[in-house]
Symmetry: C2
């Protein structure tokens, strides 16, 4: 059987399963999530063994230590995946929720209710915990799922998906609802992107390159996620010690994630006082600064930023810094270079806070807080399948609701038009 | 200036205008809609003159009468476009509406509010009234718009868009918010589909070919609209006179539209009584029937349907008819051949009604009513930009809300993570 046929068959099996998922009760779904959590813990040694094969291969390739760390699974991390599933089980079921209901003058009763998307395609890189999270959240929203993880984690992903699929089936989830493409052939991604009629959505999670490939080549609708060139603007009258705390947190608490700050903008009236404070604090955190010419005048020895810096997601301990004339220039800079993820203003001015929140084009716009809060759990959704940086369907942290669609149910007694 | 540069410039102008649209009040938008309505009526002779050029060219090509009728504009139809704009002005403004609000344990206040999409790209065919509708609805939701109408209506569209853009600008809408691509070069569509970063969404309206081209080639997110292979299932215990009335209405009241029925399914227990009634009524309406072998046995002289019929949107006075064993077979047939638009069951059985509504995968699922009601006005939205047949973002008739996105506004007082 060739690759195309294999993928086609799995997509077909997922589609068939998704038809029956409509009839599965919340109770069955929740017990399936609990059963999957239990199975992961019970069979952790098999997962760790599979993971060891992935780690060994990665080591042979000579990858970076941070990369190995992301790939590695141990008892603690497996327990973490199981906990995630139990938390998803505890969340309210979005399927069936109504958000519009009316009776028309002709007597037609119209309701709009949440329904599963159908089959969710996930294409992701490296971290094997995404496998468990995606399966759990997709099933909780009554979707079937077709997964394509990174080739680096193929053994781990096969072990995790296999254990979870079996546990789900035994708990009453239709056979075939959990599918993994267990080929490392890159062609598999191209084939998935053409599965219109089988997949209802594709969610890519990974680096900018993966996301671009998916967005540019998929004929299945895509929810774009992830890349974050996030800004923090320190206004003229900002509380500078608050601004410093937030800046340090936004940049250095976890530099590799998408909600970390990449560029700090500072009002020219605050620059002379704030930038030396910033430079000192960032030096302590071993964070490199790259500044506009004015910044370089104010802080001796700061490297000069070039045009490319303003649009770069460093994902590392590097921060670009720019002095701006006012909140309008800050907004214009952000709207030119950002990726629509998360942006913050530090200010005491109500007018500037409101203008910034209204005019900055991003999923989340903060006043006096760190952009690092853009996260499904921090926003109160209990779980997250990714952070959408597009404007259609879902924007910002995506909880279970983002994995559903709607349907109009119309009840009549013979109405014609 | 070449085509690519022209389109790029217009998209850029729309993008720039969209940045200011965030700050326009509902009152200004509503008075702009009223001004545009007034301008269309005041300058109707210029529009009719431009339309005459389109009609003349179409006549030379020898197009069908029904096609000419769709293209034609007169005082009455221009008044109809103006009325549509006034109705849009009267609708509630979706921008700024909130649908989620929480205070987190750390004191962060998080609100989710509706915001404009930004720049909406519309690619459509033939009917020039779509130009007026699209401009009105997009502006009402604070979007800029880039339009690409059919080449057959190019003079009409230029006249309408020109008059409306001028009236909008005079009423306080940012310059450049209304853009029309006034080239008939087919390449213009391909260029639009690559305008990622300028357009936030593309909505195609037209035939299946246009929609396929857009879905398969766009790297801008698309809302798929329109094609409708709609079914009506007549259950074993249906009120057959109600079923007949609904079937005749769904098929013949306006056969060319997407919510018209294309296939009727009938339970085998009702077939012998119902099919002769149906054949008689449809003959009176000059509607051709194409049936499965069992239908052809029950109704003398019925043409036999082939496999292709089941997936065809005739858009004409043709109906395919099939006998099924039960509601499950009806659901399976529909989920195999439908386009996710509108489906109906005629039944007295509560169980079957519930099963049908739950399992049929479509934007609107009716019990005892005609599929012809799938329409923004009939659903109570007051206006419609199209009918989405996809599951992301918007499904079914799309009102103003479908032309918005959301944004998280987060208010803090120094929170870090």
């Amino acid at each position: 059987m060739d690759l195309q046929e294999m993928i086609f068959n799995r997509a077909q099996a997922a589609k068939t399963a998704s038809r029956s998922m409509n009839l599965i009760s919340t109770a069955v779904k929740n017990s399936a999530l609990a059963a999957m959590a239990h199975a992961l813990e019970q069979r952790s040694s098999a997962i760790i063994e599979a993971n060891a094969a992935d780690l060994e291969k990665a080591r042979q390739k000579g990858v970076r230590r941070s990369y190995l760390d992301r790939l590695m699974l141990d008892e603690g991390r497996i327990a973490g995946m199981a906990d995630g599933l139990r938390q998803a089980a505890a969340l309210p079921d979005p399927v069936g929720e109504g958000d519009y209901s009316t009776v028309r003058p002709n007597g037609l009763e119209i309701r709009r209710v949440r329904v599963p998307l159908g089959v969710v395609g996930m294409i992701y890189e490296a971290r094997p915990n995404v496998t468990a999270d995606a399966i759990g959240l997709c099933l909780k929203a009554s979707n079937a799922v077709l997964l394509r993880g990174g080739s680096e984690a193929i053994h781990s992903n096969k072990a995790i998906a296999g254990i979870m699929a079996e546990a789900a089936y035994r708990a009453g989830i239709p056979e075939g609802a959990v599918q993994l493409i267990d080929s490392t052939d890159r062609e598999a991604v191209s084939i998935m992107l053409k599965l219109k009629g089988y997949l209802d959505v594709i969610i890519p999670r990974g680096g900018a390159g993966l996301i671009r490939t998916v967005v540019e080549n998929s004929i299945v609708p895509v929810i774009e996620t992830g890349t974050g060139v996030c800004h923090t603007f320190v206004d003229a009258d900002a509380d500078l010690s608050m601004a410093l705390q937030i800046a340090v947190n936004a940049k250095t608490s976890r530099p590799s994630v998408c909600n970390a700050m990449e560029t700090l903008l500072v009002h020219e009236a605050a620059a002379a006082e704030f930038l030396p404070m910033l430079a000192k604090a960032m030096k302590e955190k071993e964070c490199e600064l790259r500044g506009c010419p004015r910044c370089c005048e104010l802080v001796a020895g700061m490297a000069e930023a070039d045009e490319e810096d303003w649009g770069t997601e460093y994902g590392d301990l590097i921060l670009s810094v720019k002095v701006v004339a006012d909140v309008e220039e800050a907004i214009a800079h952000i709207n030119r270079y950002n990726t629509g993820h998360s942006e913050a203003i530090i200010t005491k001015s109500l007018d500037n806070a409101r203008l910034f929140q209204r005019c900055v084009d991003a999923a989340a716009v903060y006043v006096n807080a760190s952009t690092r809060f853009s996260d499904g759990c921090e926003f109160g959704f209990g779980a997250e399948i990714g952070i959408s940086t597009q404007k259609l369907h879902a924007r910002g942290p995506m909880g279970l609701t983002a994995l559903t669609s709607t349907k109009y149910l119309v009840m009549g007694d013979g109405q014609i038009r």
